[in-house]
């Protein structure tokens, strides 16, 4: 017999979300012992760098180009935005290498791998549009080169890298929204499926649950 709650979409969504991601799985305080390795650090290092990218980017958007090109504080935050992006890609590539050699798509983790790969590609687009909105001669030169490259592969009619307003909106609204969605989805999938175990600890078939290894506090 269904109750009033069962017929409400909010209750159904809540129940489904709680079943998919119980609170203890969403915010765990224990991790398998094999996670105690430096190679597992680069995913969260990428997230930390992304947080600095977003905060410094918000400050740049708030104050505008006169501030970030013309004042010492602005130039500092401008550089912070650039170098946190460098760090973001640096750690993300090492995270990618580590997960590739672990075959991290094992054990029903294909979507975790795919969302990470698409987020990586989306990050490249976001970074490239960032080069276009520096509002200096460098960005003009990069836009000219990008226009020729994109036209040569037939993408020039779809969007225009010389259109500053379009590239600015791509960089500060569209791409961060898409990237943010992908990153949150990726992290939730990591929480749901767990961190991929080493080959020697993996179950014989994907349907079997992984053996419970020794655990350490995270």
């Amino acid at each position: 017999m269904s109750t009033t709650d069962d017929r409400m979409w909010t209750a159904r969504l809540r129940n489904r979300a709680t079943r998919a991601l119980p609170p203890e799985q969403l915010m765990p305080d224990r991790q398998p012992a094999y996670v105690a390795s430096w190679i597992y650090v680069f995913g969260v290092a990428t997230l930390a760098a992304l947080l600095i990218v977003l905060v410094s980017g918000a400050a740049l958007a708030l104050e505008g180009p006169q501030w970030y090109h013309g004042s010492p504080e602005g130039r500092f935050v401008n550089s912070l935005h650039l170098w946190s992006v460098e760090l973001f890609f640096f750690t993300m590539v090492i995270h990618l290498w580590g997960k590739f050699f672990m075959a991290a798509w094992r054990g029903r983790r294909a979507m975790t791998w795919v969302t990470g790969a698409v987020a990586f590609l989306g990050s490249i687009g976001t970074a490239f549009t960032g080069y276009l909105v520096q509002s200096n001669f460098d960005s003009q030169w990069i836009a000219g080169q990008a226009k020729d490259g994109l036209n040569s592969v037939g993408l020039g009619a779809w969007f225009n890298v010389l259109n500053y307003g379009q590239m600015l909106l791509y960089h500060v609204v569209l791409f961060p929204l898409v990237l943010g969605f992908l990153v949150i989805w990726h992290v939730l999938l990591v929480r749901r499926r767990g961190v991929v175990p080493p080959f020697e600890d993996a179950p014989a078939t994907a349907a079997e649950p992984a053996p419970a290894p020794e655990e350490v506090a995270s």
Partner: protein
């Protein structure tokens, strides 16, 4: 910094020294992450 970067040419491959250094550093950090011991956290009682 206000001058063109130094590029290396090797057949069809062309890469700036700066990018090559970054790739080298990433490889170095990747290898170090695999071989360096990780500090152990407190064990579950």
């Amino acid at each position: 910094m206000d001058h063109p970067g130094t590029y290396l040419h090797w057949g069809v491959i062309q890469i700036s020294v700066a990018n090559l250094i970054v790739i080298g550093l990433m490889l170095l950090v990747f290898v170090l992450a695999l071989v360096l011991p990780f500090p152990r956290g407190r064990q579950r009682p």
